[in-house]
């Protein structure tokens, strides 16, 4: 099990940006910050997804499609589904992304995590012909104020998680892929000592703290 590295302090932009009302400001900021490392602005994927959510932007949706459709097809085929049926599921997933865009909350989930979760649901719905039980949606506060620094901080943590995953030994990396792409049962995961749960957990710890904080803010009872 790896130790938790000391994380550098997050650089928080001075003034929070209200994303919901005006995502174009984020785009402008991105242009201004071109020369700096991309840490100041949300990723391309997040900006595409926000444009889809807030402006029903078809061009941005096309970009999301170009990015995610081959990846989705890859992971779906990997679970033994023939390419033709996999494409049907990809189409279904991307259509769900378009239709459920209003539920996307970049402060709680990255685009890739959100689409991963939709893909798992749709795949089960299609293959097993039954709806996968999902947790109830959290009640959204009436006035949503999104804070660009929160979005960026979540992305930075995800980047570090990915870096940690990239440093795994090939055998460990293979186990992580198998576990998260649905090829191991819960008893396999429990028995699999090569699965670097310590690394994953230490890497996602900060994200957990943030999510807990976010969830506290949305509690209605």
């Amino acid at each position: 099990m790896l130790e938790l590295d000391v994380e550098p302090a997050l650089e928080v932009p001075a003034s929070p940006v209200r994303v919901r009302e005006d995502t174009s400001r984020l785009r402008e900021r991105k242009d201004v910050d071109k020369t700096k490392p991309s840490e100041q602005t949300p990723s391309e994927q997040t900006l595409w997804m926000l444009a889809v959510r807030d402006k029903r932007d078809r061009v941005a949706f096309g970009q999301l499609f170009d990015h995610f459709a081959p990846r989705l097809k890859g992971v779906i085929c990997r679970s033994g589904i023939p390419p033709g049926q996999a494409e049907d599921i990809v189409q279904d997933v991307m259509l769900t992304v378009w239709r459920k865009a209003h539920l996307f909350d970049p402060q709680r989930a990255q685009v890739s995590s959100w689409i991963y979760q939709i893909a798992r649901n749709r795949q089960i719905d299609v293959i097993r012909k039954e709806r996968r039980p999902v947790p109830e949606e959290l009640k959204q506060p009436e006035e949503v104020q999104e804070d660009a620094s929160q979005i960026v901080a979540l992305e930075q943590e995800t980047t570090r998680l990915r870096e940690a995953l990239a440093r795994l030994k090939p055998a460990q990396r293979e186990m992580v892929e198998k576990a998260y792409l649905g090829e191991l049962s819960h008893s396999d995961i429990r028995a699999e000592t090569g699965l670097p749960l310590g690394t994953i957990k230490s890497r996602i710890r900060l994200g957990l703290e943030r999510l807990r904080h976010e969830l506290k803010g949305t509690e209605t009872t």
Partner: protein, 215 residues
């Protein structure tokens, strides 16, 4: 909701996130997560790992491509009218996933004897899931498990050889555990319970009744 002390272990949470958990157990997990911010956050974190796997999957494999007309078909379909599946809301002690399994209707309780009642939500070869109603102070017959049993408390509390379980707590019983859950005195204990194999009762009468009650 605070006060939850028995949470979902990582192996079940990962299997659920990855879509590799049977329907009956998935319902118990989705219900626990609806009641437990801690596990909701942990699920979010595991989904971040899943997202990273998705993000990097095809990056290493340029041979994966989607057929060229699929995007055009999809773009054309964006404005198609569609019907959202019905959504369910929490009702009293039953979180939304349970209400969905109940089809939005109150549970149909069937007596199991000694004041214990059950309402079967689904029963199939991959497992079964039911609501159990145990009057305050009442014991569930001593039993073991051939597979895995997940029990989530929705109202009241019960205790057994392993500890006390209150609202939102989930007990995991596997084939090692023989236990006699007893409901706390006071209001009835109502649980959501899923199994992937038949229970093993120690005494004869419950064993005899097993096929009748499908437990």
């Amino acid at each position: 909701m605070s006060g939850i002390t028995h949470h979902i272990p990582d192996e079940l949470l990962i299997a659920y996130a990855a879509g590799n958990l049977d329907q009956a157990f998935s319902l118990v997990l989705a219900t626990h997560i609806s009641m437990c911010d801690e596990c909701r956050a942990r699920l979010g974190a595991h989904e971040a790992v899943g997202g990273a796997m998705l993000e990097e999957f095809a990056a290493s494999d340029q041979s994966i491509s989607v057929s060229s007309d699929m995007k055009a078909r999809l773009m054309d379909a964006l404005d198609d009218p569609f019907e959202s599946p019905p959504t369910y809301e929490r009702s009293g002690i039953f979180p939304a996933p349970v209400m969905e399994a109940l089809g939005g209707l109150p549970p149909k309780w069937k007596p199991l004897g000694m004041g214990v009642r059950q309402s079967i939500l689904s029963h199939g070869k991959n497992g079964s899931v039911r609501l159990l109603y145990i009057p305050g102070g009442q014991a569930v017959p001593d039993h073991g498990h051939n597979g895995l049993e997940l029990t989530l408390v929705l109202q009241g509390a019960f205790s057994d050889e392993t500890g006390r379980f209150g609202v939102g707590d989930m007990e995991i019983a596997n084939s090692d555990l023989e236990h006699t859950p007893i409901a706390d005195e006071g209001p009835a204990c109502i649980c959501l319970a899923a199994t992937d194999a038949a229970l093993r009762f120690r005494s004869f009468i419950p064993r005899l009744l097993q096929p009748v009650f499908r437990i």
